[in-house]
Subunit: 345 residues, 2 copies
Amino acid sequence: MRRFLRNDGGMAAVTMTMVAREAGVSVSTVSHVINGTRPVAAHTSRQVRQAMERLGFTHQPVARSLAAGATTTIGVAIPLSGDPFHQELFAGIEGEARRQKFAVLVSDTSDDPERERAAVANLVAHHVRGMLISPTAGWTSGAAKVIREHRLACVLVDRLQRAQFDQVGVENERATVTLVEHLLTKGHRRIACMSGRQGLSTTEERIAGYRAAMDAAGVAVDESLVVSGDSTDTGGRRAMRALLALPERPTAVFIANDSMSMGALRALNEAGCLIPDDIAVVCFDDPPWGDLCSPGLTAIAQPTFAMGARAVQLLAKRIEDPEATPSTLRLRGEVTHRGSCGCRG
Amino acid sequence: MRRFLRNDGGMAAVTMTMVAREAGVSVSTVSHVINGTRPVAAHTSRQVRQAMERLGFTHQPVARSLAAGATTTIGVAIPLSGDPFHQELFAGIEGEARRQKFAVLVSDTSDDPERERAAVANLVAHHVRGMLISPTAGWTSGAAKVIREHRLACVLVDRLQRAQFDQVGVENERATVTLVEHLLTKGHRRIACMSGRQGLSTTEERIAGYRAAMDAAGVAVDESLVVSGDSTDTGGRRAMRALLALPERPTAVFIANDSMSMGALRALNEAGCLIPDDIAVVCFDDPPWGDLCSPGLTAIAQPTFAMGARAVQLLAKRIEDPEATPSTLRLRGEVTHRGSCGCRG
DNA sequence: CTGTTAGCGCCTTCAA
DNA sequence: TTGAAGGCGCTAACAG
């Protein structure tokens, strides 16, 4: 009969029991020395530490977790496929987690509510101490429920919700206003807005920013210029084609994320449109290649890496004090002027 | 006194004991039903399954791991900072791991041997069932040792070593030859080679490919044209500046990865060099933005995502049969012709 | 085919 | 200031 698991052959690990024997004390003393959970005589403590040193003791998180009822692992549930944004976000998370001595368990959501629910359930099963999540449009009825049921420490990243959880994102509306205002200042009136996936808070906030700027300038929004690129590369291409097929083309376009801007630029190239002469382009997210295309892309640079790090910090606080009132952090994006807006970067 | 861990407040989980009681059988029977580790009467089995269903039982991997002496988690130790390559690789890994029911624990190596050793040790402490690693230049004396000591199942990704472990990478030399041959065919003779970080196997193999192609064409290599960009963005920029500062500039350059090509293109732009007229460019890795810069980048597209997936498959096999002889998988890269080589893409 | 039992390594209450 | 002992939830001998 096939054995279940059982990872034989690995070097036998040094356990607390061995350390206790070596130091001539009890296991409980060793445990308390390690965790500082009760006063130990300086003398004894030293003995134990030396024994640990000699034997090369390292903790076994799984045993500790079982006994303590909680791990030192945090879960991360985000879409992993493709866009530079989430990838950099993840790098930020991992770095700060390491600093805080958390292990990181990842589960891709593919930006799909059902997958997201499964991902969260999986993380819960692994007894993660808390989790970071970049919620999908349909998370409320799935993942959110699971999290609440388990009273899991949780921080929302990027896509914020109604302040029920800790969360960290950027000032989407404000940044978008700045960008669209810039286009208006340069005389554009037919400004298109290529928004992201329906239902994401970032999508809504960026659209709101677009409308606010247009309103403030007294320019009526032509609704045929407000299209969705579904937050993806291919979606952006499709959306841009649609805009170009309009009887009266826009003279400028605001694109709500990096993936879509890739697709949009492709469509523009295919159509032989010149940027910024035929159409000016600005976008949210400053992708790494933003200065390599010509003209360079005028964009909002998000502090993506920092966002990941701050999220972990919020989570650590939440774990420390589960009763604290949830806080929302809005980081500021920064405009990078290059040539695509017509500024000659 | 502060309590250690203890994650109170979470909903009490359904345990196997509860299922056993509900089904009127013993825990061991429940365990065997779940794991299929011994024959169970169809009748009993059904009882158990129904009980699980009613109670909403879910496994507790940490308890299972402690008892079984091994987890169902695999560790991933790769550099996470920046380059699209490792990010896509990771996406490939995560996807296949999910399919195989592995949880994924990540630890950034930052491409630094010491960090890498720490990352591996950390994964070992978490009792990962096996790990995937994209080894740094100095891994032999650090991480490799730890892995051997613990007899850990391990698959090397991208940067291959001397067949002591299972490994999967691409045909670096062959692909590079193709690319450089292409430049030679177009009449270039002063072809520069911007290589990656010293000591990485990919670096060596790509340099070897460059030399092989030059040799085959009977062109002597001008050693001043073989420079290192340290595999990074900034390194690539520096290296390209150096090439441009040469008394006799190269007429073409082969760049050994995507990050460096970003830096190199920047340097080229700054210097006002026209591609491909002043200098033709080809590179290893086909970055997502390869068709957005103008002219588009002629490049080797690696099957990065697939590489991650295959690595997980190899690992699964290795875990299944620890004694099998290690296998090496070489995936094929594909040339994408665009304008930067002078082909008018 | 199934139940009983002994741990896995660690944390923590209770006694001393 | 310390030790002894029980238990976290699960797996896997060992007996029926």
